[in-house]
Amino acid sequence: MSAPILESASPWFVDFQDVWLAYNDELLKQNHFAVEAIDLQVRKGEFIAIVGPSGCGKSTFMKLTTGLKMPSKGKILIDNEPVTGPLKISGMAFQAPSLLPWRTTVDNVLLPLEIVEPYRSNFKAKRKEYEERARKLLQKVGLGGYEDKFPWQLSGGMQQRASICRALIHEPKMLLLDEPFGALDAFTREELWCILRDLWTEQQFNVILVTHDLRESVFLADTVYVMSKSPGRFVVKREIDLPRPRDLEITYTKEFTDIVHELRGHIGAMRSSAPAASGAITQ
């Protein structure tokens, strides 16, 4: 019974202890897991990136972290609390901005406040104040002047900025991004990297970034995790010790490209040995 005391003293913000997830009971019986044996500890305010081939369970990992899915085995602690259901301290954004076309940009950003407590109960009374907050946030990501436009009047990059604003409006402690820049062109993408970097530097929330883009992960994250596919496991942990604040110029330095190369090597090795490994595990 000494465990709770230990936990409360835990320095970790995100703490996965040997977490396994099978999507349903049948798959569980067959020992077929979407993600396996995740042991992961993240400091408060740390920016982590998860890279790996498609279908390796990155999105499953996000669902576990936000409490949308419960693990089949193991334990997840977020901010020293065991996860028991959807975690309101998190904000999410995906590759598709999925803004509501009948709401203006600022109304889209306000949507979470209409749903999550404690904002929900006083939303009508404090609407002005919240709207002000949403407008400020939009201006910060370079959408000043577009607040009252409809999403379909914005470019893809602008929509994605609005989507990130929507994820941040309720000041979450943890931001989860699932390939948020995947559908954007290279220049827009780099622009948004910097916006995300600045938001994070200013507000110091935790970020979990799922991505295919190794340069993106190295540029933004404190720690990069490489996931393997079937079984979905974390196979490599790489601390990125590049100095902060990081500028886009850093992506052209040798240290930077060396790290990208190294990660690329891990993924390449995994891909070539994947069939053998998966054969061994599904047994």
């Binding site: 998190s90 999410m92 995906f94 009948w102 749903i115 929507r166």
Partner: protein, 255 residues
């Protein structure tokens, strides 16, 4: 004339050309007015019987609107239930599809037994024939929610109801108005078909009695009136659709 103006006038021009051609064929080949009346004959009969036609048309109109009104209420409610619950969708949808495949005209004799000759069968036929597209469209709008968006909201503690009200319903509105356009024309079909056998009033009744009296001009005039009413209502709902859900028609708006 701009391209837009030409587009606006095109249907009217086509209509005039069509009528002229019709008149020409009737005159040149001396087609009997009892077999296939010319537009001129239809017009004179229409003018001669305008009072009678107006009475029947009004009856058909309000009966159709009553049936259509019930169809909206029932269609929206059923669509809401089916679209918001997977179980209800699985259970109800196949049955509804089977029901929709039945010819609604076949219900008329049954409805006559239950409700007698008069407005009852006509209203119900209009309802039966027109609620299906409304239901399907509401259900589709609700059921095809992006899973990412649902995750974004669920993680904030959104209940099913929140997601339905904030996202599902507004999203299904363009589908809903789109379905009204289809449903109103179907409702006119239902009313007319029913009136042909089960009423002593209405355009359907007029068609049958004019036909049996060999008043072909009058019968055709009745058809034109139903067509015109259906088209006016279609355009009305089309205009409502454009005004209420402009966000879904942005392509035409920017042009």
């Amino acid at each position: 004339m701009s391209k837009k103006q030409i587009e606006t006038w095109a249907p009217w021009v086509l209509l005039v050309v069509f009528i002229l051609l019709w008149q020409l064929l009737c005159t040149v080949f001396e087609v009997s007015e009892f077999v296939f009346p010319s537009p001129a004959r239809i017009w004179t009969q229409f003018w001669e019987f305008k009072g009678i036609i107006a009475g029947h048309a009004w009856r058909t109109f309000w009966v159709t609107m009553a049936g259509f009104g019930i169809a909206i209420v029932v269609g929206v409610l059923l669509g809401f239930v089916i679209g918001s619950s997977r179980l209800a969708y699985a259970a109800v949808y196949p049955l509804m599809t089977a029901f929709n495949a039945l010819p609604k005209a076949a219900f008329v004799p049954i409805l006559v037994v239950w409700f007698g000759i008069g407005v009852g069968p006509a209203i119900l036929t209009a309802f039966l024939i027109s609620f299906f597209p409304i239901m399907v469209n509401i259900a589709t709008g609700l059921a095809t929610l992006e899973p990412e968006l649902e995750d974004v909201l669920r993680v904030l503690g959104a209940k099913r109801w929140d997601v339905l009200v904030k996202v599902g319903l507004p999203r299904s509105m363009p589908y809903f108005y789109g379905s009204l356009k289809v449903a109103i024309t179907l409702a006119f079909v239902g009313t007319t078909v029913s009136e042909m056998t089960a009423a002593n009033e209405g355009i359907g009744y007029l068609l049958i009695s004019a036909g049996s009296a060999m008043q072909m001009g009058l019968a055709f005039a009745g058809l034109v009136v139903v067509g015109a009413m259906a088209m006016v209502m279609y355009e009305l709902f089309s205009a409502i659709e454009k005004h209420t859900t402009a966000w879904a028609h942005r392509g035409s708006q920017n042009a």
